[in-house]
Symmetry: C2
Subunit: 403 residues, 2 copies
């Protein structure tokens, strides 16, 4: 019998009616004869409400207690979803991360799954039950609850699918699937039927909010097929899997923009070997992930290093950046959040010449200045003024005939 | 080192400010050098909100899933309370019923504690931590979460105190302690410094909402001293313990009224032996707890049986009552909820003659008609018209000079 793992995001279970809708979808799949394991996020704004309560009590909460608090969010949604399935006459059982035995390391708030005990789930499946598992959470070796951080529920779903040897893992959200560009920006954007893991990884990292890169990475490593679709309609979604037909690869699969990019310039530091290594290892130590990097030409014996980070990282990282700049004897720090990164992604790019040039041409035609460029085998990214982001995406989408 | 168990009710932790207040009280006790284990209920209306969500999904929820849902309420309050304690610089750790190992039987929604594993709590106490345990919840042999039903958090506190060999168990609510009567009804009502378990049991059963009878019973069996006080002030509360000085017992300790009483008359059933047994065993089978019973004199070969139940029982029990009446061939069923039960309680009553007569005199003086009477060694209860309840309590309080 086929085993399918489904995941429904917070918007999909945002209120009792939506929970009932999700229950119906699960039952429909169950009736086809598959065994179903479902993982869900916390309802809509539950997590935000809990965080609001927490902030009224303290601004420096203990990470362990944060996890104790936040894990209730998914526990509420698994209970309600089970009730909705049961009220339609189908057997279901809810299990928390700790009850399943989703083992993690001890890093509260961003724990990593180290193993899953399949026993309880398999036993419930063998009793013909639909098994509903709390996403985003696990339990450490001390029997304390942990949460997986960003993309946690997607990761739970993929990890369960791998551990249970599921046929595939379906991730439902409020988005129909993966598009050649954000349909709100590019009206002609086309939904992709299929995309490779590598392309998806680049797209996910670039701000397409459908699948979290962490889960795609895990799926890629274990060769698991993912399917991203909407829980609000029955449109065909997008399959994410390793593509074998090398020669049929599209040169460019999609265009994305990310407005959360922030440009940081560390100005006037000594132009000597090892300076960049020192800067970035100090930042890494404080868990600041740097994205694009440019080292300008030195003038005199001083140098500028410019890099980009995510807006969110800036909240925690601002102090670190200034501290590190001071330690390196920098003359000045400039932080500019009015930038955006536009990118093209395509597994076929590596075998097609002139792809990057064509992208630059599109931007040039629109008089958009390129501040920084990074490339990989399947991606070209340009940092531009934030105000030009949508215009840039439309121009690039058009020049590559993605519609 | 002394070990004290404290319990704070839902009103006491009803919002972030109140949680901070409770944290301060706990810290104050901690500073005196005692080891502290705290158990808390869900915040104010959290449980009601969860039940509201549930009812939007189904009216016949699975008992196991109800427990999965409701146990999140206390999990939220233990996390927030720990954060509040920690933010004042004191070490604390929260534990759910399942993490502690509060073992229960399998009766979801009204489980009974079968044992407590002290290991985790003692280990945390030995690390100088204030241990905050979720009230109302446990875990069954299948690793499923259970709830203890009514009075659950009080019961958790008492069970923990017994299991850990605590010096005493302090139950904090929004009420100052145990009074000779409800101070909202009788302005002269006096707070009692001390009361016996038996008296407290009768008072608790009679609607004084300070301590749940289940927890008092448990404390009585194990000889544990209870202390009931308010978390909103520092007034001295009431100690509940086995009183040894038999001769010093007050004849009447307190007066209570319970407006939730409902009178049910099963009219015109055959006057033959075994009829009452049949009626009440059928009701018991559907878990309807009958309180006062009167069997009227038979007229002809027909008989009336009148009994009282709690308002809440009527919600679930109405159908059962009509069904059983039909099965017994009754002519009619009358349900009257405009009644109230007033009671006097006192361990010295048994050795003081004329106590009941004095109570009836007080009611007679006020022209209050007595519909039904029940008595025990330490209690006399009269069923009267609901509208006369407050008047009756005041008159009885006065005649016994309780002020």
């Amino acid at each position: 019998m086929d085993l399918i793992v489904q995941k429904y995001g917070g918007t999909s279970v945002g209120n009792p009616d939506r929970i009932k809708n999700v229950a119906e979808r699960i039952i429909k799949e169950h009736k086809k004869g598959s065994q179903i394991v479902v993982t869900v996020s916390a309802m809509g704004d539950t997590t935000d409400q809990l965080i609001k309560l927490m902030k009224e009590i303290t601004h420096k909460p203990d990470p362990r207690e944060i996890d104790m608090l936040l894990t209730t969010g998914e526990q509420i949604s698994i209970a309600l979803l089970c009730m909705a399935i049961q009220s339609e006459g189908f057997p279901a059982i809810s299990l928390t991360g700790s009850q399943v035995g989703i083992k993690t390391n001890n890093r509260h708030n961003h724990a990593v799954i180290t193993g899953i005990n399949n026993d309880r789930i398999i036993s419930e499946l063998n009793h013909s039950k639909i098994v509903v598992v709390a996403g985003f959470q696990g339990v450490n070796s001390n029997d304390d609850f942990t949460t997986l951080g960003r993309g946690g529920s997607d990761t739970t779903a993929v990890a369960l699918a791998i551990s249970l040897g599921a046929k595939r893992c379906e991730i439902y959200s409020d988005v129909d699937g993966i598009y050649t560009a954000d349909p709100r920006i590019v009206h002609e954007a086309k939904k992709l039927d299929c995309i490779s893991c590598d392309e998806m990884l680049e797209l996910a990292n670039l701000g397409a909010k459908v699948l979290h890169p962490r889960s795609v990475e895990l799926a890629k490593i274990y060769g698991l097929e993912l399917y991203a679709a909407s829980s609000f309609n029955h449109n065909t979604g997008t399959i994410v899997k390793e593509v074998r037909q090398m020669e049929k690869r599209r040169s460019v699969t999609g265009v994305t923009s990310d407005r959360r990019e922030v440009k940081v310039a560390i100005k006037g530091i000594a132009d000597r070997p090892g300076m960049a290594a020192e800067l970035f290892s100090k930042l890494a130590k404080d868990e600041i992930n740097v994205d694009m990097i440019i080292q300008n030409l030195a003038y005199g014996n001083l140098n500028d290093i410019t890099f980009t980070i995510n807006e969110e990282q800036l909240v925690q990282g601002r102090q670190t950046i200034y501290r590190v700049a001071e330690e390196l004897g920098a003359k000045d720090v400039e932080i500019d959040s009015t930038v955006a990164k536009v990118s093209i992604v395509g597994a076929g790019m590596i075998t097609t010449s002139g792809v990057a040039a064509k992208m630059f041409e599109a931007l040039g035609n629109e008089n958009i200045n390129i501040q920084q460029i990074t490339t990989s085998d399947i991606k070209v990214s340009c940092l531009i003024a934030e105000a030009e982001a949508e215009n840039a995406v439309r121009a690039i989408h058009k020049i590559f005939n993605l519609a």
